[in-house]
Amino acid sequence: METMLTSLIDIPSLLSVASAVPALAPDTAHAGGGAAPVAQPWVALIPMLPILGVVIAAVCAIFDVRSKLPAFLTVGCLAGSFLLTLAVFLHYDDFNHGAPFVVHLFDWINLAWGDPAHPTTLAANFSFYVDKLTVLWMLFVTGLATLIALYASEYMSHDVGRAYCRFFAAFNLFVFSMACLVMGDNLVLLYLGWEGVGLCSYLLIGYFYKKPEAVAAAKKAFIVNRIGDLGLALGIYLTFVHFGTLQYAELFASEQLQGYLAAASEHRWSDIPMTAQGIALLLMVGAFGKSAQFPLYVWLPDAMEGPTPVSALIHAATMVTAGVFLIARAYPLFLISEFALPTVAWVGTITALLAATIGMAQFDIKRIMAYSTVSQLGYMFAGLGMLTTTGAAFHVLTHAFFKALLFLCCGAVMHGFAGQLDLRKLSGVAWMKGWGIVAIGMLVGCLNLSGFAFTAGFFSKDMILAEAFVTPGYSVLGWILIGTAGLTAYYTFRVFFRVFLGPQHAEPGDEHHDDHADEEHTDETDAHHIAAHGHDGHFHPHPPGWAINTVLAVLAIGSILAAGLYFIEKDSHGWVGAMVHDSSAYYHSPYADHSDVAHAEEGAHTGLLFGQDPHKIMYYVSGVVGLMGILLAAILHGPRGWQGLFLGGRTEAGKCRMDSVARLFGPIPRWAEDKWYVDELYIAIFQTPLRVFSHLFHLFDKFVIDGIVDGVAKLPGALASALRPSQSGQLQGYAAGMVGGVVVLLIIVLVVIGGAS
């Protein structure tokens, strides 16, 4: 490891010499605040390498490459991006003395108008703003993208050919868009990336475009995201209208914003104009859409129709954290808004609870993971709202690892069992031959997700939970979130106990249902599949190959090691805290110092939990809650036996104690399984009235508009049929008409005019 890092040290200097990107002259116009443009053009390669990957995939598609070549070239490009990001991280202090810096790639939108002496300017260039928040995000985005691309190379192998190229082209485009979103130095470039990831998400959810559910899910994701994006776009306009700039460096350094921040820190809300306060509320709507928060979360569970690597990368680890990133990046704008952060906290908490209750009752393991993603994103938003950007960012990081791991484990199961995702039809997978790494990976992921003591998820979740009790006014939310943590532990281990432990049992899924195919059988004929899986009575699951196992092992180790980040740089609340500290997201919460002995007296009024400092007691509280959840899952879903270690009584795949317990709750589990009828509610509130209106408008169009147009068109027709008999076609008739006309004219001339004179 040490040698690898030292060898990396030379990368920037080598690249800055050999880079194909021309050196860019520092432009003082782009320098605002503390972020000076730095001539490190190779930084621009981080987003540009994935674009190269798109081109490679496209070329492979043109030449109809029928091998895994595009996948491995993609992995190469993404790994290059990751190594460059790592180099930026290691050399960060050398670039601009540890301050954020801007790398200008090329002018995109650079306008000036009005009075030439004092022009109004609008600058939104292809420049990259690099601070530690950017580096943090790019590290896990590119790192996970590399791993998941490697996983997908095996997972998607049944589609080798055009579709395989299409998949990896969209995959690379996604990473590029995400890089623009995270690294852009202005809100317009962020918006470009924001829409780009939305587009790639649409393309990849609808990857199986012959499947109606996949197409519907893709459309749903796109449309629901549009609602949020409207808010984001309006927020960006309002930012420009109010602050006159869209570049972060200028924005954060503007005296106007600093003045508002000073007013906000003294709660002088009336000194901040409503337009400035409204910006955060609008940006927030965009974040809710992209990060699947209530009430815009409905698209994410449906997005699981896409291939599992996509679910893992886009719909669990990276894209859905864009909303968290937006709020963290624009945190000063949120601090100057009286209602934005409390709203974020409440919405996050409600989403966390709602999604957890739905997740408890689902049977599709991928959907359970989807709801847990929504729920965990709710925790992150709650953290942002409760003034702990560090906690939110740390949870984003740990969640990215363990949720990607969980999804990829689910994907491996799905891949091996012919698309089977129903936890009632799978059992004892851990004991089957070749599934060891998957089972261990799943266990690590589940422990993290359920906040088991000393896992990374435990520390990151605690950071948010503790802050709920420290920041005044949020203790109710804190209790809700603790309860939700228990539910999370329960539904997570429900999956683990039912699918991985217990008697061995597996019913194969329907191949057409999802993206399963056998590695050796690329010719996609149904007969072949049925023969391969022995539908004639005996089913052979096929365990994952080296690529999947390697990725799972790396992610499992990463998830475990992520806990260590909490202990380095303890002064600033862990490594992530140190990263956030040097970025726009940093906010020194006036309540955060309660852990100091000096401030303990002060905090006695608001920030206590069971009479103790929440930062310390929370470890025990949440640890116990998590264990209770796991225990409950063990009792209700766990297998029987194993020297009495498991308390559950499940001896068959589909039958467990939960069946009888669920009956005690009457129809409630049924309602939860049907997702509390939120989708139906939306259909009733939005879709049905729209449908009725569209029918009414259709009728209006058909009878009123078309009636007028047709009526006007019929008028000349009627006139023509009235005049038609005059055209007899007989020459004499025309001659008679002519003579008659002359006679009439003569009479007029002789009698009227001649008579008058």
């Binding site: 005049l723 038609r724 055209q727 007899s728 076609g729 007989q730 004499q732 001659a735």
Partner: protein
């Protein structure tokens, strides 16, 4: 000079218009024109109708020359020369068309040509 010439013409031939007045010529012209119209409107034969139009041409020509003589003015006669020229060209065109129409229907009747009927 010109006015003396005009005076000369009037004094030289005053009795030439004595027996036949302008009204005679105009009456002849009107009669020919009426015959032409009646012929044109009553006959179905393309050639006859064509001749009738010629008749009307000449009727107007007679009227023009008569007025020209009456007013001792050359414009009318000049105009008639032009009319005759045009009429000659028109006759060539018209007859050619009639021949073509005849070849199409093997008949000269205008009733064969009623395709413009509304």
């Amino acid at each position: 000079m010109i006015s003396s010439l005009v005076t000369l013409a009037q004094t030289d031939y005053p009795e030439a218009m004595g027996a036949l007045t302008l009204a005679h010529y105009l009456f002849l012209s009107a009669a020919m024109f009426a015959l032409g119209i009646v012929g044109f409107m009553t006959r179905r034969n393309l050639i006859i109708m064509f001749l009738c139009t010629e008749l009307m041409f000449q009727a107007s020509g007679i009227a023009l020359i008569a007025f020209s003589r009456f007013h001792l003015n050359h414009t009318g006669q000049t105009f008639v020369i032009f009319v005759l020229t045009v009429a000659a060209a028109e006759a060539a065109m018209g007859l050619a068309l009639v021949v073509l129409l005849f070849r199409k229907r093997e008949s000269l009747s205008t009733e064969e040509w009623a395709e413009m009927s509304g």
